[in-house]
Symmetry: C3
Subunit: 137 residues, 3 copies
């Protein structure tokens, strides 16, 4: 059981590819077959596995969130930290705080078109923590 | 590998903080570094990690579900157990039946503002089972 | 740590019950207490735990997706592979690529009404890979 805590600075709302950062942790572990668990310690950013070839996919996801979970909806009661506060909690609920990826033949077992993203749901930049726990053999 | 089955009585639709119940199981395990997996054995209630400071956040989530996945939508075909039956299945799909939280330094590795909730999606009270599986060292 | 790769042919958009296929892998492992992790290596199909008694539930889920994440929305920029391309990525985000089910007393620890489904989100048939990783004792 190996555990690392990654700290990442985000640039505000949007996705950040963390595949190679996590791949490096898997490589350093020396595990051949196992599981890599990721956990975001926040309620306004999340993890997402998404198509990694066309940036338009992530732009369209952002567009869908903007329509379905809008910032500043007057029906929100919680707006302590601004119009994006409640929207960020809802977006987090709809994406993932916890994600497990298999380790296959010594590497992250992602499919060809799968990228691993940290999705900042707040409009302002934040520092985010991800707990990475690996086990296997 | 330690496995417990928790049985919880819900009070009908809404969230119930289960953080301290799960924390107690982690403490009793004596594990220092590991993973705590939770699994709800139902298709109309779910697990959710959510902001734990302001109850308004959970009220706003409930409001969003009420608008996006309404009870009694006439387009639902499945309404055997009443107007909340199909809405509860859809809400479950959008939240989580399976959740893994890291065990860090002998405790649940949640962030400061993260609470662990059982979200009853049916309007009536139910008894719910959660399988808790822990492993580590 | 046991790892299998399942390859499944889908018939286009819709769900396919994979409970018994996964149950067989659990049986063959001989594990009594543990965890069974499933991971889909794609960004346009997903895993879902859903009510297994009434097919109307899955039909209503399909209906809800059709309204909430429509094919061919003119606001999508990504439509390289047709009108269902971007909708499939959004549906995948809202369902699961990674799912962990406990192994309880030598079997998948699902609740009575829980079935395990592969949800093809593209309209055309595809061949899909699921990595199944089991561990326990």
């Amino acid at each position: 059981m190996r555990q690392n805590i990654m700290r990442l600075a985000t640039r505000g709302r949007g996705t950040q590819d963390i595949t190679s950062l996590v791949e490096r942790i898997v490589q350093e572990s020396g595990l051949r077959t196992g599981l890599c668990h990721l956990f975001v310690r926040h309620t306004s950013c999340a993890l997402m596995i998404c198509e990694n070839a066309s940036p338009e996919v992530r732009a369209d996801i952002e567009g869908w969130f903007g329509r379905t979970v809008p910032d500043g909806d007057p029906r929100y009661r919680h707006d302590l930290e601004g119009p994006d506060d409640m929207a960020a909690h809802l977006r987090t609920m709809l994406t993932e705080v916890s994600l497990t990826v298999p380790i296959v033949e010594g590497a992250l077992g992602l499919g060809t078109w799968q990228g691993l993203y940290l999705y900042e749901h707040r409009t302002e930049p934040h520092t985010r923590e991800i707990v990475v726990t690996l086990h296997g053999e």
